[in-house]
């Protein structure tokens, strides 16, 4: 009843009696009392404030809490202004008295203009000010209760004992949670407070406290790096925060020690420098500094003692990696480098089970290092023996191309120093390639070769059964030692088998993703490479390799991610070069699977693939270019074998579903299950799920299998069965490469029916006709026909073609802008002494 006596509209009745105020306060306080009964479990932000769980500060409507002089507590809508101006009751009383006197004097001295005598029957025009109703500014505040009688009231500040603002409540709860160690929840409260008023008094201090407490807490756990970061953040804001310097020193010290022990010197050093900046006279920092310097010195001493120039250089590098400030270290490193110029290479693939004999890019790359080809190409320089990097000193073709006389160079010793490469080695290698049981077997060569005759120590005659287009192409591989295994390994004196080679380098060590190749002596090849050592470091993706190139860990990488090509070009001191041959991406199909023999299914699988979207969204992360574009057949676009009138392969998921359904019916309504194998390559791994999704949507059950790239390609080349396989290989001259492009096991032993893998018999016939073609006028129309008919026959599912790129640092000179493989003409390359920027 009493509360109804104080509506806001009765502004003029503002002379609230203290007693009535007390009554009102008591009544409201009674309404705010929590309900009786067992208290529910407290929510963060609720329990400590005596609020019901539903009134959690994070979720509740903002409110302020007013405590009246009698101890009753009111929950009201947030007051304005916030915070209220300060209020002193004594000063207020004096001010009120002065104001009243001033008001009375004004009334007396200023009568109304119309006079102050009224007439009968008229209402008084004079309005006497009611001095009791007047309030001074700030003496009363308007409040709106949030509980009980939801009305607005005027409240004299004299009756208020205290006001707790909502922001303060949030900060109080955050502090409580910080004490309890619940930093995430505390952060939420601080966020809410910041959202209401970023400059609220105490917010910054509480946030700092949160950073400090959480940082310290995390330092002792597994997330010490994050803890350190929080403390660093705090330090940048408030370097003088109590206890921060000590905590940082302790934390940094622990981290530096751990990194030092883990030999992550660069990270440890970075922390050390940071600590020194944060705490200039920190004793721990001094100790750590001495620790680094001592270790660097120790390694440097080992470098000085090392007899092997390569090992010496490695030690110097290591020493400078530990402590770049080592006195005189840089100069001595450069001196050591000039003794053993070393090239660090980042690669992303390694040869498969067939090693250097495999058909993979890695095998080709490494083969160029450790082996010399019999013929280094099909150009005139190669066939006339002018190319110094090949074994052949000359090649004579007679009997309309059915007889080849090959003369070998002198002084091309095997890497074990046993003897030079002789005719017997070449003859044995070529004969092995015609033996079906040999791992070197090449079916086309076996069919072509009639006999080999060793004429002299360095001369052989090869007779062919028929005329063939450019039979020299079969001599482009390396020769293997006749006394060795088909894998090129020779039994050593200690009984072990060790591969030997005749190339400019030899493998001297291989472990944990690092392969070390050392240049052969000058006497061996006649021209000793200027780079004494090649260190190949294996990275799991081309992006990682690029990061290593950017850091300066390596000077050359074999692949630049296509989507980051421009980024790579923009890196200071880095050059980007292309590979000559485009890379063709396609899905190989095994026709030995009866389901894939069905043209209907093959068409369904093809129509399910949105090639353009995959290429542009995943591979290029941008629009197609003239070099990287969607394929319409087995051959590269623009190649002489690419038929110009072939329509692009369509994308029609609905038609794909229909065709797959038709194929399923043809197979007796059994689900079509296919295994999809794809290489472990970052780009392919991104594309594969989309392909699987497309085929699954079309109605095919796909089992995915990720395989190491080299291993997969070698296994496929051996003719083993598969269903679907993602292949990305560089394209060679289509006359010789058409078969292997379409069928991975095209040259495999006939014992496993590799030709049956070609899903289209028509394309197989054309390929075999091409194989028998003896001249370009016969071969070229066949190639065009293969390209044209492949669109309908679909022996493979063409995807797209891309241009591959490599990149190197400026201090490496020699790599051409365009090359066939990574190490092309490596013997002429040079490298200057150089250290990664981190050691500068």
């Amino acid at each position: 009843m009493a509360t109804r006596d104080f509506p806001v509209q009765a502004w003029k009745l503002m002379s609230l009696a203290a007693s009535l105020l007390a009554l009102l306060s008591a009544a409201v306080a009674a309404q705010l009392k929590p309900a009786s009964g067992p208290a529910p479990a407290a929510q963060p932000g609720a329990g400590s404030l005596g609020l019901a769980p539903e009134l959690s500060l994070l979720r509740s409507t903002p409110f302020d809490r007013i405590t009246l002089v009698d101890g009753s507590v009111l929950r009201v809508e947030p007051l304005t202004p916030r915070p209220l101006p300060p209020y002193d009751p004594e000063k207020d009383a004096a001010r009120r008295k002065a104001a009243a006197i001033q008001s009375k004097s004004k009334i007396k001295t200023q009568p109304p203009p119309s006079g102050n005598i009224g007439t009968l029957g008229q209402r008084k025009t004079i309005e006497r000010p009611e001095s009791d109703a007047e309030e001074l500014p700030g003496e009363t505040i308007s409040i709106h209760l949030l509980e009980g009688d939801l009305q607005d009231f005027l409240l004299k500040r004299i009756g208020i004992r205290s006001i707790e603002y909502f922001e303060d409540l949030l900060l109080a709860e955050a502090n409580r949670l910080i004490r309890r160690g619940d930093f995430t929840a505390a952060f939420d409260y601080l966020l809410r407070c910041q959202a209401r008023d970023p400059k609220w008094k105490g917010l910054a201090e509480t946030y700092d406290r949160l950073l400090f407490e959480e940082g310290v807490s995390l330092l002792s756990g597994t997330q010490s790096e994050r803890g350190l970061r929080l403390l660093r953040d705090l330090s940048s804001k408030r370097p003088s925060y109590p206890g921060l310097a000590e905590e940082l020193a302790r934390a940094y010290g622990r981290r530096i020690d751990a990194l030092f022990l883990a030999k992550n010197y660069s990270a440890g050093r970075r922390l050390l420098f940071e600590l020194e900046k944060l705490s200039p006279n920190n004793s721990g920092a001094k100790i750590a500094r001495e620790q680094f310097a001592a270790r660097a010195k120790e390694v440097a001493e080992a470098a000085e003692k090392s007899e092997d120039p390569g090992e010496g250089l490695d030690s110097w590098r290591e020493s400078l990696r530990i402590w770049p400030l080592l006195e005189g270290g840089r100069a001595r490193h450069d001196a050591a480098f000039s003794k053993a110029p070393t090239l660090d290479v980042g690669v992303t693939d390694e040869p498969g089970s067939r090693g250097l004999l495999g058909a993979t890019a890695a095998a080709e790359r490494i083969s160029a290092l450790v082996m010399s080809p019999i013929l280094a190409g099909l150009d005139e320089a190669a066939t006339t023996g002018q190319n110094p990097e090949q074994l052949a000193a000359g090649l004579e073709t007679t009997q309309l191309g059915r007889s080849l006389t090959l003369t070998l160079r002198e002084h091309r010793p095997w890497s074990d120093g046993s003897r030079s490469v002789l005719a017997i080695d070449v003859a044995w290698t070529l004969a092995e390639q015609a033996r079906p049981e040999s791992p070197l077997f090449r079916a086309r060569w076996a069919q072509l070769l009639d006999r080999i005759e060793i004429k002299e120590e360095r001369q052989i005659e090869i007779r062919l059964r028929r005329q063939s287009m450019k039979p020299e192409v079969w001599l482009q591989g390396p020769a293997l030692p006749a006394q060795g295994t088909p894998w090129g390994a020779v039994r050593q004196a200690d009984g072990s088998l060790r591969p030997i080679g005749d190339g400019p380098y030899r493998l001297v060590g291989q472990q944990k993703g690092l392969s070390v190749y050392k240049a052969e002596d000058a006497a061996a090849g006649g021209s000793r490479p200027r780079i004494a050592r090649v260190l190949e470091r294996l990275f799991t993706s081309d992006a990682e390799a690029l990061a290593a190139l950017t850091r300066g860990d390596v000077a050359l990488i074999d692949h630049v991610p296509l989507s980051r090509l421009e980024e790579a070009r923009a890196i200071p001191g880095v050059r980007v070069g292309a590979y000559e041959r485009p890379v063709l991406h396609r899905i190989a199909l095994d026709g030995r699977n009866p389901a894939l023999r069905l043209r209907t299914l093959r068409r369904g699988l093809s129509l399910a693939i949105d090639r353009k979207a995959l290429l542009e969204e995943i591979v290029l992360k941008g629009p197609s270019t003239a070099e990287s574009l969607v394929s319409d057949g087995p051959f590269p676009r623009g190649n002489y074998a690419d038929a110009p009138d072939v329509k692009p392969l369509e994308y029609d998921p609905l038609l794909a579903r229909m065709l797959v359904s038709a194929a399923r019916k043809e197979l007796g309504e059994q689900p079509i299950r296919l295994k999809f194998e794809y290489p472990r390559d970052a780009m392919v791994k991104a594309v594969a799920p989309r392909l699987i999704e497309a085929w699954t949507n079309a109605g095919v059950v796909i089992e995915a299998s990720e395989r190491p790239a080299g291993e997969l390609e070698d296994e496929l080349a051996s003719g083993r069965r598969f269903d679907l396989a993602y292949r990305a290989t560089a394209s060679d001259d289509p006359v010789f490469a058409a078969g292997p492009l379409i069928c991975p096991g095209y040259d495999a032993s006939p014992a496993i029916d590799p030709l049956g893998a070609i899903a289209s018999p028509r394309i197989l016939q054309l390929l075999l006709m091409l194989e028998a073609a003896a001249d370009p006028p016969t071969a070229n129309p066949l190639l065009l026909r293969i390209d044209r008919e492949s669109r309908d026959e679909l022996p493979i599912l063409p995807l797209w073609q891309t241009r591959a790129y490599r990149a190197w640092r400026d201090h490496l000179t020699g790599p051409a802008e365009t090359a066939r493989h990574l190490y092309e003409r490596i013997t002429s390359w040079e490298i200057r002494p150089w250290l990664p920027p981190e050691t500068e």
Partner: protein, 522 residues
């Protein structure tokens, strides 16, 4: 499979009319003689002996038991002494008497005869057999040797037919126990034994054979010389004026399958690649004989060469079909040399094989008895490159047409649903989508263009282009275009839409481009 069968039949018919290559499986005697004759009967000789020689001679032949001369070679490594050898031979002869009886007259030679000095029976030379086998009807050569990997003894045998001078394939068995040896020899003998017959009559789509010893009652059904289903391989023996043999010519790719027995006479169906394999139009004096043939557990080796330039037909598929019908089943692809090795026991009896180009055009069809010979047999075949190329084009057009029909059906179904739901606002875009697809006239033109091209190329090249398969495919395409690309319904919808527009006189809402991807959802 039906299409394949049709293709095969078509090919057969075409071959009958056009090609001198192997064509027909079941030759009919009523067919007019064609220039096509078996490749071995190239030397013109006087006609063969009369169909029915003197009755007494025929009876004598049918009642004459087979004089079988056997030579046995036991490898010393088998550790079989003379006594054991004698016991085995005696037991074997006893078994032969009890199971076969009168039809066989076994004569086991004490020495190794032609086997002397021969390491493996496969290496046996034909010329070493004629003289020792003189006077006998057949010579059997048996070898016993220890198995490489166990104590089991390996038995191998070959048959030499004195009349035709043909050496049969190697037949092998294994004897796990020494006591089983006579029984295994008996089984081997039954496998090796090849009945001989003379052609006594031909006509009415078959021939009648007089089978040697067929009139003699066997001791058990096992000893029956000829049965319904037995297969014979005919040969022509050219004779000198004195009646002695001048030359024996195998009639290739021809078999005689016994359909019925009439006493010692067997009525046979001719299964051949040739239209008239047993032609009487032979210049020299000759007689027709036949020799029994059975499937043997050894791979069948074939090689196909192009008839024009002898180049290997690589990458062609070979399929087989049983004589009594059934679905054809694939056997494999020819390798780079045009060869194919058909695995052991791919069939239990005579089958017809078919060589296909691109699995679409049948190039050759011929009967084969599995494992009949260990040697590779070479066939010359017309690869019909132009016809195959044309068929490939037609297949591509067929795919394109099917895709179009599928799309068109989808659009039409949606269109129909919109009209039935009276959603005329949505009809127009879908109608336009259907009308934008290539129509009947386009595909009629393309089919005609291909037909004209095939005709022109055939005329220019004088090579077969318009094969039965090509013709059938062209006809299929015509039917598909005519049946599925009919525009009548679409025209009717368009007329309805126009009429509705005129009557309602309302401005049609902006057409929404149809999204084929959402077609199923809608």
């Amino acid at each position: 499979m039906v299409a394949a069968r049709d293709r095969m039949t078509l090919t057969l018919l075409l071959l009958l009319s056009l090609s001198p290559a192997p064509t027909s499986l079941v030759a009919s005697q009523q067919q007019p003689p064609t220039p096509t004759t078996p490749p071995t009967s190239t030397t013109p000789t006087p006609t063969s002996e009369p169909a029915a020689s003197s009755a007494s001679e025929a009876v004598a032949f049918e009642r004459k038991p087979y004089a079988i001369r056997c030579w046995l070679k036991i490898d010393p490594a088998a550790r079989v002494d003379a006594r054991r050898r004698g016991e085995w031979i005696a037991a074997w002869r006893s078994l032969a008497r009890r199971t076969v009886g009168a039809p066989w007259k076994l004569e086991v030679q004490p020495d190794e005869g032609p086997l002397a000095g021969v390491k493996r029976i496969e290496e046996l030379a034909l010329e070493t057999l004629a003289q020792p086998a003189l006077g006998a009807d057949q010579a059997w050569l048996l070898q016993v040797s220890p198995n490489n990997d166990s104590s089991i003894l390996q038995l191998s045998a070959r048959n030499y037919d004195v009349d035709t001078g043909r050496l049969g394939p190697v037949v092998s068995r294994r004897a796990a126990y020494a006591a089983d040896m006579p029984r295994e020899w008996m089984s081997l003998g039954l496998e090796v034994f090849q009945p001989s017959a003379r052609v006594v009559e031909s006509g009415a789509g078959g021939v009648t054979l007089s089978v040697q010893a067929a009139a003699l009652a066997p001791a058990s059904p096992l000893g029956q010389v000829v049965k319904v289903g037995s297969v014979f391989r005919p040969s022509r023996i050219f004779q000198k004026p004195d009646g002695s043999t001048l030359q024996v010519a195998e009639i290739r790719w021809t078999y005689l399958v016994v359909e019925s027995l009439n006493g010692p006479l067997a009525r046979c169906q001719i299964v051949s690649s040739y239209s008239d394999p047993l032609s009487r139009r032979v210049a020299r004096r000759s007689r027709l004989v036949a020799q029994g043939v059975k499937p043997v557990e050894s791979p069948t080796r074939l090689r196909f060469l192009a008839a024009n330039d002898r180049s290997p037909l690589a990458g062609y598929s070979l399929e087989a079909q049983r004589l009594d019908g059934g679905s054809p089943f694939p056997l494999g692809l020819t390798d780079r040399e045009g060869g194919i090795v058909v695995p052991v026991r791919f069939s239990e009896g005579l089958v017809r094989l078919r060589l296909l180009a691109g699995e679409i055009e049948s190039l050759a069809e011929f009967p084969v008895m599995p494992g009949e010979t260990a040697d590779q047999r070479t066939l010359l075949v017309d690869p019909k490159p132009l016809a195959v190329e044309m068929l490939t084009k037609l297949e591509a057009l067929d795919d394109e047409l099917l895709d179009l029909i599928a799309r068109r059906s989808r659009y039409e179904a949606i269109l129909k649903a919109r009209i039935e739901a009276d959603k005329w606002d949505e009809v127009e875009p879908w109608l336009k989508a259907v009308q934008d697809l290539p129509g009947k006239a386009v595909y009629q033109g393309r089919v005609k263009q291909l037909r004209d091209e095939a005709t022109r190329r055939q005329a220019e090249s004088k090579a077969v282009v318009m094969t039965r398969a090509v013709l059938a495919k062209l006809q299929d395409l015509d039917s598909m275009v005519e049946r599925y690309l009919d525009d009548e319904a679409i025209k009717a919808y368009a007329t309805d839409l126009a009429a509705r527009k005129a009557t309602t006189n309302k401005k049609a809402p902006t057409p929404v481009a149809p999204n084929p991807g959402s077609a199923t959802a809608s």
